[in-house]
């Protein structure tokens, strides 16, 4: 079905401006390249930080941060004494449950997690103490209440050491939250930077095409008409920057990959670096294009208003 004339004309004009601006950028390859590189780096930086946090989260996701206390009993403690201690612990106020772990069970678990079988075999006897894993009941699982509970548990007969194991997991998660907030801040600052870079490029472009702008306004070109090619120019530069950012990240991941693999292998973990997801990379590219458009709009609106034809 043919388009109505007005629509077709409208599309044709936009198409001309769209590809005309691309052609103009191509005629100044070096200047365009520099702008695109700056935008690419400005976009790649927060995206890389974001990925770092996301990968950290993958690693630490498995870490349970439900609050738990480890209560180690004195050496030596017999099985009967250990059971008695466990019952005494379970009876304390604020304890939801207490699970007794024998030295043998502890050793088996440690062997499974650490992967240092050979060294463990060399030990003449099991060095591990009896352990009681304590889960506090809800109102007693705040940081302050846990300290209080730990103090109570330390008074139980045969208890040697009480550890709140989960504090470090919580700290890691708090650090990740902080980093994520930092990513947002960095992204906001660099987005402003992209606006400024594109704005400056557009300003130069406007100055270079002053005569054309004046003549166009003189023959009745509206501000919107005069502005259009510059908007598309900003759009292309932003789009180029976004694509470059995605490429930079892919290159960075490829360079880091083998090292991360070796690191993961050393820890006996099957971990692979996560790259930008199918939702994320269009966000980077589209974000770049949008920032380019916005920067161009700001600069063009500001500078074009001040160019009036002279006669």
């Amino acid at each position: 079905m043919p388009l109505p004339d007005a629509v077709a004309t409208h599309l044709e004009r936009h198409g001309q401006a769209l590809f005309g601006s691309l052609g103009r950028l191509a005629r100044q390859p070096f200047a365009t390249f520099l702008t695109v590189v700056v935008i690419g780096i400005a976009l790649a930086l927060p995206a890389a930080l974001w990925l770092t946090v996301a990968n950290l989260r993958v690693v630490t996701e498995g870490l349970d941060d439900t609050v738990q206390l480890s209560v180690y009993l004195e050496l030596p403690t017999t099985a009967a004494q250990a059971k008695q201690a466990a019952l005494a612990i379970e009876a304390k106020k604020g304890v939801a449950d207490a699970v007794l772990v024998s030295p043998d069970e502890g050793l088996a678990e440690f062997r499974k997690l650490s992967g240092i079988d050979a060294a463990l075999e060399a030990l003449p006897e099991n060095p591990l103490p009896w352990l009681v894993k304590v889960r506090p009941s809800p109102p007693h699982d705040t940081a302050a209440a846990i300290d209080e509970l730990a103090a109570q548990l330390r008074k139980v007969e045969r208890v040697e050491l009480v550890e709140a194991d989960t504090a470090w997991v919580r700290r890691i998660h708090a650090i990740e939250d902080t980093l994520q907030q930092l990513v947002l801040l960095v992204a906001a600052v660099l987005a402003a930077g992209v606006l400024a870079v594109v704005g400056n490029t557009i300003r130069l472009e406007i100055n270079g095409r002053r005569a054309e702008i004046e003549v166009t306004k003189l023959v009745g070109g509206s501000n919107a008409f005069v502005r259009r090619p510059f908007l598309y120019s900003g759009f292309w530069q932003g789009l180029g920057g976004g694509l470059l950012a995605v490429a930079l990240i892919a290159a960075g991941l490829a360079a880091l990959g083998p090292f991360v693999e070796r690191l993961a292998a050393a820890y006996g973990a099957g971990f692979a670096l996560r790259s930008l997801s199918l939702q994320e990379w269009p966000l980077v590219v589209g974000g770049g294009a949008l920032l380019g458009l916005a920067g161009a709009w700001l600069a063009a609106t500001y500078h074009l208003r001040r160019i009036e034809p002279r006669a």
């Binding site: 044709e12 003549v215 003189l218 023959v219 009745g220 006669a311």
Partner: protein, 223 residues
């Protein structure tokens, strides 16, 4: 038509270009605007094309008070006024076609109609077939005719020209003036600022002579 009603113009730098200037050009009339350099000829043209606004007084173009034409209405207003410059103001990096079509492009005229009208306008100035040439490949007279084609392509009721023959030798100047007269013959109101004595003698049209920003009687009985 063009009407100036007690127009006073002072530029931001303090220079007073026009003082109480009043005149009227009927629809379809043609006139020369004369006077020494700095007498205010360019200011008159700038006020008509809405490149400037009067400090006091009113300017009417095509029946509209220019002081009522503001902001977004200016582009449409300018499409009703064809302007020709001494230095023709062509875009050297665009072919003749693009230069002439520019006033249509900004108005959103479809491509097919644009082709037709560009050819018609180039035909009128005797440059049909030069669409793909670039301005710098043309002679001075041809460049000026491209400028005229661009000024008339929207069929504006008013055509103004600032020293359009200033850079041309007498034969080419005559050619250009003949063009203006042809547009005038089909009803276009034409105002040409010039100090070319030969043209003034040759073309017997009304003469608006400006001195110190006011309308003055023509100094000697030429034309």
């Amino acid at each position: 038509m063009i009407r100036f009603d007690r127009v006073f113009k002072r530029y931001p730098n303090g220079r007073e270009a026009l003082a109480e200037l009043s005149f009227e050009l009927e629809t379809g009339e043609m006139a020369f605007l004369t006077g020494h350099s700095g007498a205010g000829k360019s200011t008159v043209l700038r006020l008509i094309a809405l490149l400037e606004r009067p400090t006091r007084g009113q300017v009417f173009v095509n029946g509209r008070n220019t002081s009522a034409v503001r902001g977004g209405a200016i582009p449409a207003f300018r499409r009703q006024v064809g302007v020709v410059f001494q230095d023709h103001r062509l875009l050297d990096d665009r072919p003749v076609y693009d230069n002439v079509a520019l006033p249509l492009a900004v108005g959103g005229v479809p491509r097919r109609e644009m082709d037709k009208r560009v050819r018609a306008a180039l035909d009128q100035v005797g440059l049909l077939g030069r669409e793909r040439s670039f301005p710098l490949e043309l002679s001075a007279g041809e460049q000026q005719r491209v400028g005229i084609a661009r000024a008339v392509i929207t069929k504006p009721p008013v055509l103004i020209a600032d020293e359009p023959t200033g850079n041309l030798d007498p034969d080419l100047a005559l050619e250009v003036m003949n063009l203006f007269q042809r547009f005038n013959a089909v009803g276009v109101t034409v105002l040409v600022a010039t100090h070319d004595v030969h043209l003034l003698e040759r073309f017997r049209v009304r003469r608006l002579h400006i001195e110190h920003g006011r309308l003055a009687t023509v100094p000697h009985a030429a034309a």
